[in-house]
Assembly symmetry: C2
Homo-oligomer: 68 residues x 2
Amino acid sequence: MEKITLTVLGMSCGHCEKAVKGALAELDGVGDVSVSLADKTVTIEFDANKVKVDQLKEAIEDQGYDVQ
Amino acid sequence: MEKITLTVLGMSCGHCEKAVKGALAELDGVGDVSVSLADKTVTIEFDANKVKVDQLKEAIEDQGYDVQ
């Protein structure tokens, strides 16, 4: 598993956290996901053989947030 | 129908708006509900014979927001 921390703008509350985590959890190859609303970050464990960083970003953006 | 505008703190995004509207819609006697995130207000049409203002406030508070 690899780990990446993305800066994600627009997450304001627990619902946002849940939306982002839920979208990432649907992707095959995604492990643990942690969100910091204060730091505006999403840290994702993932298997690079199964899922690409672009797919992670896309899943977050599809929920309506900006990945920097 | 009567109409009341409550000041509600802690609503930060569209998910919050949806949570508040959904909780109020479940109450018998509640009509149109509009939320302004910018103004921190929730305006509720309701039938005072069917539902009391305290129940409206409680439904919002149960979603995790503070009614002033």
